[in-house]
Subunit: 283 residues, 4 copies
């Protein structure tokens, strides 16, 4: 999927109608722009058409934008044109277990993800050294007796950092609806189970009690309804009777890290279209 | 794991105590019998010791049995000695979807499993042609207005067939406690989800609605509590937004077949020890 | 991917040029035909464009064919229009180990693949009972002292059966170039290793000697160059030191079966486009 | 597998003889030591017995060592007793691509592996910032015109650092036999292919040319024969026609990282016994 240079990414969602592929393709071709890669999907139940196009052959993205706006009006489309820009401003939230945050920041440091971490926020002190190691501003927002104050401080800190993406990297505080709504489809959480199995707390303990033979992790966009947001990525790993809870935690860590990194990459490459409570992932 | 000739299999469960491994090993060595392969596990929470030994170098299994009986009395052991015998008498229960039964019977026909199918029972007519193809007696026990009568007829038919193993191969009738108890740890069911996700009916529809990225299947010993028995084997397969419910069904079929075949093989090789509501699988 | 009714499948290969997606989409829309699903790929190294479209909304496929022929001439396209037809006439070749053939025929019997087995051919007698069980004509063509005669008899038998697809289901005879060329991209082989590891004979023995931790299988179109044809599907399974050669054979069997079944399904759904010595698999 | 406190690990290799399990178990029991966990394997081809025991209930390891020495003499055993000690002194060698080293050092920093990195050595300058970030001494040993001098400098640097383990983390220089022999079974390399496929240089390019559907990585002990040492761990990831070489490199990176981290963990927990050119991995 690697392109020689950064292409523009056009994503489209609209009611399915005959001729829609032709209309978009014609418009793009008429502007002298190339479609380098195209993915599309039609959801039959709701007759919804979703498309992702990689475009190149132009630097005049405003002209593409204007033309698309006209087409979108005619066809009832929602669209987004993502042009090559600076790395995504990313805020990472952590609690006592920084392994997911550490992995993400290592990858960003190695240039593997088109992102820049502009702040690490933690309710616990454990994230401080990680932030220092990567030379990123650290904000400690400990759990407070007044939840409302705690939420307001977090909301303000997020506003101040103007992130493109917020990552809950094993952040163990429940967020209130206003924050969740504010960052809808720009806030990704990693849950340490193969959802919907073991929704809620202590999934590894419950997986051990149930004697499952696989454990997993789920990355999803955050909604007010806990652990119920649209799923972006999931994976599992094989376990056995030899694995005690501490082993499930260790094995699970690796699954969490790679599922979260995968979800962040897919999101940043504009491969994830949310659709109802589900996602279309053009990978 | 393949042995040149069929070994005897000794499985042991008892409270963990120092010296137990030595005591068993000494006894076996003292009889001039070889331990070809050994697996053991200690559950720390309950201090339970579980062991599986493959033995050869003797044909005098009664002597081993007698010696073990004495040792078991001293140490508070439950043990079982499985000596090379005829293939396991197996009864297969099916409903409208015979793909799991077909796969199992194909494998048995090819000599891949140490079993012999002595009867196919179905509440629907679909299993008849499968039974005929494999030249196995077929019994049609349709769902009845009197559930009690239905259950009694099934219980009687199972008794008549004297199975070593009963396989519910996508059999969609709920069994009453007396039948379940009668065949405890000798009755295996395949559930078409990665339990405990999607317990109950129509798991593929619910997986589709939830937008999961993996679907799975679970083979477990049957208990009166539906879909809650000790898990023997599980596996998953990757799916995407492109997969509609019919695709999940198709993909799921393959997972079901291989998880069920795996569970049956593990059971017949005496690799599964039930322990509380969990299993130790020495694979 | 399941459609409510069988769609027509249009596959296209041509030099990549701007406007090609628009040209095809316009043509299809102009005929009042819907594009239900579309996949496309551009190979950058050779500037080749490959596309697969699922079409519905018409029964007048000859009109689509004629229109496409004109477009193909203008753009230098190779195309194929596959319209809903009878199941693919399939010939299965086997040797001494019928497990892959048995699995494939079980699936076809269950209606899982849009195929009909019109003949089973074997160099060894082992396939006869399988053919009988499925009520399919069996031809025994044993290895002969005159290889030329042997090849001529096989070539004639294949011609007589007029297959759409020939499956080498662990068929252990090397085929001569004329037969391979005659059935190019319509003859699929399953090789019992993860190619290109362990090209040639006795791959499980060599995998055991090398101490690999995974074993695999590869389904590919057959070329005159042994084990070197375009790969359609591959998969692997985890193994360990506990697994002797006989275990690798047993575990490998399952990988072989599912890789072959997958490759046959992808082929029959016209999802595989051959391109140089590689495939594009629109799955 | 997690134990409440660090156990001692006893590994044994010897010719297989009846009574050996009993002899070891008796000896251990006689010392009042508990066998917390035991794994054993008999290689039939060479009649070799291999065992790994986790022991606790004592702090007097010298007594265990002495007793074992006597038993070993009687039975022709090679054995090793690993008692809880300081973290393993680990030296990491890198070239231009530090992603494997970065992952390993992140894990060690998080306390996930019982190791301490005492030095990073690189032939290229890229490893310097990684070493600095983790506050570990960095040695730059660039490729030299006199290979002999280059090898002597590396050999001396390794001696100076007195490592328990040397990790070649995508280190792209070939090492001479004396260095390889000096660190035999204490030097682990990660190769960026599923060996024995794509032995040698540029495996991702060759995987792309061959059109494989899975790519992999292999961690092995280093031998003088390149890419031929005993395999410790392997894994693969699915790829498709959409993935160009740059994508294979990106996907491969993740496989390399997790296979290497797994191999290092297995080694440090004394779970890997080398046996001929193969390994027994008690995981």
């Amino acid at each position: 999927m690697a392109a020689p240079s950064s292409p523009g990414i056009l994503t489209i969602t609209c009611p399915d109608r005959p001729g829609i592929v032709a209309a978009v393709a014609e418009l793009i071709a008429g502007l002298g722009v190339n479609i380098v890669h195209a993915d599309q999907h039609t959801d039959r139940a709701t007759s919804t058409f979703l498309q992702r196009l990689e475009l190149d052959g132009t630097d005049d993205w405003p002209t593409v934008e204007v033309a698309m706006r006209r087409l979108a009006a005619d066809w009832g489309m929602a669209f987004a044109l993502h042009v090559p820009t600076a790395p995504a401003r990313t805020v990472v939230l952590v609690s006592a277990q920084p392994h997911c945050a550490a992995d993400l920041m290592m990858r960003i440091g190695l240039g593997e993800l088109p992102a820049e971490v502009v702040g690490v926020i933690g309710d616990r002190p454990e994230g401080a050294s990680l932030a220092a190691m990567h030379d990123v501003p650290w904000t400690h927002l400990p759990a407070a007796d007044d939840p409302e104050g705690e939420h307001l401080r977090l909301a303000a800190e997020l506003e101040r950092l103007t992130p493109d993406l917020v990552v809950l990297a094993r952040y163990m505080r429940v967020l209130p609806e206003p924050i969740v709504d504010r960052w809808w489809t720009r806030m990704i959480n990693i849950h340490h189970s193969f959802l919907p199995a073991f929704v809620g707390a202590r999934p590894y303990h419950r997986a051990h009690d149930r004697g499952v033979k696989l454990i997993g992790a789920t990355a999803h966009y955050v909604t007010a309804d806990l652990d119920a947001g649209p799923i972006i990525a999931q994976d599992v790993e094989r376990v056995s009777h030899r694995d005690e809870v501490a082993d499930l935690v260790r094995i699970g860590r690796d699954v969490e890290r790679r599922v979260l990194a995968d979800a962040v990459r897919l999101h940043l490459e504009h491969r994830v279209l949310v659709f109802g409570n589900r996602t279309v992932v053009f990978d």
